[in-house]
């Protein structure tokens, strides 16, 4: 732990590292500072990018979970799908507001933020558990998750920005979605032996929620405003890019 902040208690260092990973998520909003026009086609492409990033992240989570326990990961994924179904039902008859957004757009953004926030619980646990495995592992995992969070912030911003949210709001909500990371990292570090068996459930849960979100919201909306072959190309290449990024960065 001396490699990160010398003299700090271990628990404080775990919290600081996980907070760093959460703040990194806000960097995903930066590309949208350069986008001025938000045509229907841009919205479709942004949804496709978000879908590809989320599918890539889910793939990585499922792969990791499957090495720890396939059946447990699958059960977690099922629970994740159920979460989004229930959330949709709860939101279905209402016209929610999300910041300056209203109606169907606000509902979609709310769902994306919920899904990504859920996803962050598992990442926070990963940071906490890594600190139980030694200094080198802790540094590697912290950096990996911090870098991994940037495209997740991009995915959230890709859904929010075309609906009129400011870049600052996109960055803020992206960071918010990752705040579970420092909150779960500390208990995971303190109770690492108890937490490890539950990891597959958490990984599957986050992945299932994201995949379902892509299928029920992002792709249908992308098809409404864009051409299916173009959407497929963007989703596919973005997903592959995310897979490469996760494995090799």
């Amino acid at each position: 732990m001396g490699a990160l902040v010398a003299g700090w208690p271990p628990v404080a260092q775990v919290f600081a590292a996980a907070l760093l990973t959460a703040v990194a998520t806000g960097l995903g909003a930066i590309p949208f500072a350069f986008l001025r026009e938000m045509s229907a086609r841009t919205i479709a492409r942004a949804n496709a990018v978000a879908a590809g990033l989320m599918l890539g992240a889910s793939f990585g989570l499922l792969t990791e979970g499957a090495t720890l326990g396939g059946a447990r990961t699958a059960l977690g994924a099922l629970a994740g799908v159920a979460l989004i179904l229930v959330t949709q039902r709860l939101l279905g008859d209402h016209e929610p507001e999300f910041g300056t957004l209203q109606g169907a757009g606000a509902r979609r953004v709310l769902l994306v933020v919920v899904v990504m926030t859920v996803h962050s619980f598992a990442e926070g646990v990963a940071v906490g558990v890594s600190f139980g495995g030694g200094e080198a592992l802790a540094v590697a995992i912290t950096l990996a998750i911090a870098v991994h969070n940037v495209p997740e912030g991009l995915a959230i911003s890709a859904v929010m920005r075309p609906r009129g949210a400011s870049v600052l709001a996109c960055a803020g909500w992206s960071v918010f979605s990752s705040l579970p990371q420092p909150l779960t990292a500390v208990p995971a570090y303190l109770f690492v032996e108890q937490v490890r068996p539950a990891m597959p459930y958490g990984l599957g849960f986050a992945a299932g929620a994201m995949v379902y979100m892509v299928l029920v919201e992002l792709l249908p909306e992308a098809f409404e405003e864009g051409e299916a072959p173009q959407v497929a190309g963007i989703v596919g290449l973005t997903m592959v890019g995310m897979l490469l990024f996760q494995r090799h960065v």
Partner: protein, 241 residues
């Protein structure tokens, strides 16, 4: 190191089943006059889920090994599929085009199947049987579409059988090439994954959403993909429980 290839008898059985499932599905889809569009949509959703699950099972081992060739193969397949798709004429989806699309689907699936069989053992056969189920579902959708254009069940069944020929041919070709060049296995698995992913998003899902509500379609696709991915993962050597 790939596991031993399945026996010729097992391969023959699954090949006959794959082609027969498509023909039977198309006959059944064409014999059912009512609700053709919805049937095609839901069949497409089921097929999409199976293909996504198969794609995951193909790609996951390569990802665990951080194999760049697999992701490169996937990217190449997506770009290639998009270029092929862009070259097709736009316009209403005629019966002939539906059969041609089915043949193209089959060809991409053949590559994925060949790659899975090259990995060998239970993994390849499990995925092959998943594709048999997918062929039946896709045949249902094709038959319903052809019926809408006035094709008889028998004619639809024959067309589906012929369209599946490409699947077997490319599957056998892929197995043969990978037997001679095992270094290409990772790239082939990635290419199978990329081709399946593109087909699902470019072809199957848009029709499915059109025919059924997005919630129901999303549930069907998620469950089908999850089940196939789980079964495919369980047949991998060293898979967790």
């Amino acid at each position: 190191m790939p596991a031993p290839a399945p026996s010729p008898l097992a391969l023959g059985a699954v090949s006959v089943a794959a082609v027969s499932a498509a023909g039977a599905g198309a006959w059944l889809g064409a014999a059912r006059p009512a609700g053709a569009g919805r049937l095609a949509g839901w069949a497409g959703a089921l097929a999409a889920g199976v293909m996504l699950g198969v794609g995951y099972a193909l790609m996951a081992p390569a990802l665990v090994r951080a194999d760049v060739a697999a992701t490169g193969g996937a990217a190449a397949a997506i770009v290639g599929s998009h270029l092929l798709r862009a070259g097709r004429t736009a316009g209403a989806r005629s019966a002939t085009r539906a059969v041609r699309d089915s043949a193209l689907h089959s060809a991409a699936e053949g590559v994925a199947l060949g790659a899975a069989l090259a990995v060998g053992g239970g993994f390849g056969l499990a995925l092959a049987w998943a594709i048999v189920g997918h062929n039946a579902a896709e045949g249902l959708g094709l038959g319903a579409r052809l019926r809408a254009d006035g094709w008889t069940p028998a004619r639809a069944g024959r067309a589906a059988l012929l369209a599946r020929g490409g699947q077997l041919a490319l599957g056998a070709l892929t197995v043969g090439v990978l037997a001679v060049q095992p270094a290409l296995v990772a790239a082939a698995l990635g290419a199978g994954f990329g081709a399946l992913l593109y087909l699902v998003i470019a072809e199957l899902l848009p029709e499915a959403y059109h025919a059924g509500g997005r919630t129901g379609i999303a549930v069907v696709v998620s469950l089908a993909a999850g089940l196939v991915a789980l079964l495919g993962g369980r047949t991998l050597p060293g898979a967790g429980g």
